[in-house]
Subunit: 358 residues, 4 copies
Amino acid sequence: MSNVELEGLRARLDEINGQLLELISERAQVVQEIGAVKEKQGVPKFDPEREKQMLEKLVASNKGPFTSGTIRTLFKQIFSASLDLQSTDHKKSLLVARKNHAEDTVIVLPGGVTVGGLSSLMVAGPCSVESELQTRTVAAALQKAGVKVMRGGAFKPRTSPYDFQGLGMDGLRILREAATAYGLLTISEIVDPRHIEEALDYVDVIQVGARNMHNFELLKAVGEVNKPVLLKRGLSATLDEFVHAAEYIMSRGNMEIMLIERGIRTYEKSTRNTLDISAVPILKQECHLPVLVDVTHSTGRKDILIPCAKAALAAGADGIMVEVHPDPATALSDAAQQLNIEEFNTFFNEVKASGLYR
Amino acid sequence: MSNVELEGLRARLDEINGQLLELISERAQVVQEIGAVKEKQGVPKFDPEREKQMLEKLVASNKGPFTSGTIRTLFKQIFSASLDLQSTDHKKSLLVARKNHAEDTVIVLPGGVTVGGLSSLMVAGPCSVESELQTRTVAAALQKAGVKVMRGGAFKPRTSPYDFQGLGMDGLRILREAATAYGLLTISEIVDPRHIEEALDYVDVIQVGARNMHNFELLKAVGEVNKPVLLKRGLSATLDEFVHAAEYIMSRGNMEIMLIERGIRTYEKSTRNTLDISAVPILKQECHLPVLVDVTHSTGRKDILIPCAKAALAAGADGIMVEVHPDPATALSDAAQQLNIEEFNTFFNEVKASGLYR
Amino acid sequence: MSNVELEGLRARLDEINGQLLELISERAQVVQEIGAVKEKQGVPKFDPEREKQMLEKLVASNKGPFTSGTIRTLFKQIFSASLDLQSTDHKKSLLVARKNHAEDTVIVLPGGVTVGGLSSLMVAGPCSVESELQTRTVAAALQKAGVKVMRGGAFKPRTSPYDFQGLGMDGLRILREAATAYGLLTISEIVDPRHIEEALDYVDVIQVGARNMHNFELLKAVGEVNKPVLLKRGLSATLDEFVHAAEYIMSRGNMEIMLIERGIRTYEKSTRNTLDISAVPILKQECHLPVLVDVTHSTGRKDILIPCAKAALAAGADGIMVEVHPDPATALSDAAQQLNIEEFNTFFNEVKASGLYR
Amino acid sequence: MSNVELEGLRARLDEINGQLLELISERAQVVQEIGAVKEKQGVPKFDPEREKQMLEKLVASNKGPFTSGTIRTLFKQIFSASLDLQSTDHKKSLLVARKNHAEDTVIVLPGGVTVGGLSSLMVAGPCSVESELQTRTVAAALQKAGVKVMRGGAFKPRTSPYDFQGLGMDGLRILREAATAYGLLTISEIVDPRHIEEALDYVDVIQVGARNMHNFELLKAVGEVNKPVLLKRGLSATLDEFVHAAEYIMSRGNMEIMLIERGIRTYEKSTRNTLDISAVPILKQECHLPVLVDVTHSTGRKDILIPCAKAALAAGADGIMVEVHPDPATALSDAAQQLNIEEFNTFFNEVKASGLYR
């Protein structure tokens, strides 16, 4: 008998489940409509005051058997699912989002060098451009090793105003000349919107550095030029903030953006930063942009660059950035963590030998 | 016009909310009835197979806008709330929560010393009990300064197995004797459930250290004795985890628990840990327990103990813990951060002079 | 016996220390002489090639116990200290440092309002300037409450390019007019060096926001105007980086800088950021500048602003910043965390009643 | 003429460099001797008071041209290099250190399954053992997939005392029976030293969980049995703390330890924890123990397990741990992040197809 009873109760449960599903789905639609109205009005979608009122009303009408606490929890869950739905809508609408653009963006640099396609990219070069000799020495070595793109800092954002700040436009000129002499392309950081125009003659890719990822005026400015941008993740930027920083650039019209993970700030002190390897698959999944990993700044340790570069490629990175200096011990910046040329050759050979570098 | 639209949509939302509440409540009643039937049959109430079937059915009928994943999550929440309702043990809100017990818990230690009431508590003493002389020297100084409770480590959880691990039971004995000689109460850390019984003779308050905040077997064990417990926040425990750790103790019957914030791990290196000052008002708000702040471990810097202690009291802390050693430079642990006796006197006088120490 | 041994070893250590000091000093003199010769020859003083040779030589002669790496590091340190000695510009200690300037800097704003002296400063106002009505409503309430300085954002750095970005120059104008009407001073954030000149007419204090703390071009630009600057700590800036960011400003000539702690990024989720209370005494100790605390952004929770503001003042802060909006639920930014006017009055009254607000 | 002068000065510089090298090296030897004496005395090596005295003495004798600040900096550098030398000595002496034992430790489990050698290890299974059916279903699937070692929690350390705490010894029995039936080995977490003896019959590898990495009494206890241990990194343990936790085990005699990285707590919210991939090469370099990566707890996201597992292997990990449940949606713990059997098969096949799983 009790089994009959049980079956009856279960049937009622199924019925209620079905009704709940319908109501929850309809509720979500209503919330979406409200969201659309608010969007037109330019008003934020999340209205904590209103949510509070709804919860109070529900608690006031609650006759049990759930406690007020459980009712609050269940409905907050339902409310926030509806809200997430809107933010999913919002994410779908980002220009950088894969939902908006299913295929990988492939950036074609001068000379047909591609970023983000089937082949991996190695970007190498000194932290700072210091002299013609230093830059040319690296350029020659990179050409010999088969590297196509050279990095080199001319405008250096440094913690102290009294540290070496880079050679500025002279540095860009030195970089360009060395690169041209050895058939390389150039990447260099720009820190001021007022420098962009002049810099366009010298760089093939504009880098926006980690300290400037939240410098929205700079992001907008590089969004308005016709030159690929390499955007570094901020020192402690969330992936969501990183993606939105790229959106600042793309919303101004520049579609050629590469993202680069460079380690985040954590409590761990055995590395300079913590390489957030899961950022690679998440960014590849959420965005259609090429994703690189700067192994030098992520780790700050020469002795683990090879396994970290392999890990980055295995995780799906489209390329690697690494610092190389003819004589790291005398470098004007990042002395401890730059590879010398011999070390770089070993590094690149081992990375290629792994089969992960395509 | 769109405001009219908005009002209409909101009215519909309120209506749906009400219907959902009714259905969810009815559902809970049905589940309770099923539970009663099962109880009669001696069958376990949780039936994962049945739950799975219900979820599959719901997902199969789902027409959006929620994804199947969201539907699963929302209904699992509803299912488990209903299940919790059946087992009344699981249901009640936390014992440590202020919602459950509005007044502040005041712990009365031997000799009528109170923790958590109108007067502030200063707990001081050496990091480790090292010798009778060292311990008695501190005890004499504390008595003179008007301190009532002395701390001193006998079982020291140390990063390396080769570091000084404390004097163990001998240390507790030395601490007790020095304290008794100078009319003080004792606090000392216990790290192993098997030591508790013997330790009860020596300590007036059992400390559970930061590294053991998630040692649930130890929490249960101290929950079963009749002795106040000082529970330290874990190195990187969230406040939610901290509160639940206290609940482990209280759920075993021991209602006399003091919480102590001791700094959390962050990227900042100018202090040993980061004193999370907002933890104080949040814990006071969420729980009815006394809340202390360990200024020594939070900061690891003698030169800012006075302002940090004042800040803790201004934020609502019921007490302060600080390390004092007759000769910090020769201490066997925490050498750099312990106050000497003169420094402690200055510290305590300045804290009292602020008017924040009641 | 081993103590005798220890004393002998320590005496030898003191002797070596003295000899090292003599040699290092003599070395510095020789480098100065070389510098003088080079200066006459018009040759650059830093000769990386020569430095490299010297390092190689040292490494070649090194017989341990230090590794070659340590020898390189130690001698690079010695070399660069000698080099710094030559360029006297680089040498002097930081302008913002208390070692350089023992007394507290007191900034006198128009109307004689002081920051950093004997009296505390309350800065309040809406997150964003949204309309004349909203701004005037707040201004009237602040005047009535006795507040002297009003904040209000006109250029809003927002995570998404599609979020409300502020009213720009119009917002500054609205802020200025409302402030003037109610006898208040103004603070507002500037995000682009190109806006500074125009903004000078509208703001009494230029704010550099957390996301721009490492925007060195902006720091330099505000360092060149004659207007006090409120510099926010970056989202995850170390105190050392924060102090150097202030130095960027001061090194350009602007001596009127206020520092403001606004919470740092940590794993803890019960607050929006973690208020780093120990930053207050450390900054006061290291710098001669006024230090404020932004309790709104530090915590992101209205319910703990009072204890946190008291804690900030008890820790030595010269002022508090808090967000106030006539109707937080409808605010275009930071809706959840702004106080309404009544809440602000309660807040300010309680903070004053504590006796900590001077 | 001035070139002659220059050459003379440079010769003098080289001479001084040589003398400095000799003195610095001799100084380091003296410090090592002092360290040896202190070690015998059981006194900590770092003596801040003594360091302070030495610095004061040096500053007092300093006649320039360096400022006192520079002298302090240079000598602190020299002092700390000497101190590091001792801690390097100390690290060398850890039993887990590779410096002590150059070859990789290979652990041979029953049936000849090896961990840490030439072949990779896949450990899979449910978060919790819930029932015989559930456990056997997973076991059958794992056998079919070619997995050799099954995990399953019987003692579950849960944040709340009211959450499912595992089936305890019954769970271990169920796990053992299912494993034996399908020719698998077992790994399960032990949380209390008092359970170890009984557990030895059921588990082939004892797991010490993240929350217990600093439970030194448990570490010592598992160090005294003759059974391999899988030690998880603590929620926010530094690598140095992790290595020392392993040393606690090994110092008691148990040489068969596997380390497992499981993500660390950071501010980033898009993953449950942050997989610290650089921990893998650092641990492999510093220790001779096998290193695994728990991709489930590191990420908390099913959608990035494949790239993260590949990254772990590319970085040098000896194995992967992943959670598998016949029906994750109804799981009693970790519902959202366990793979179902089909998903696991895809996962394992893709990881094997990458060529990184040996």
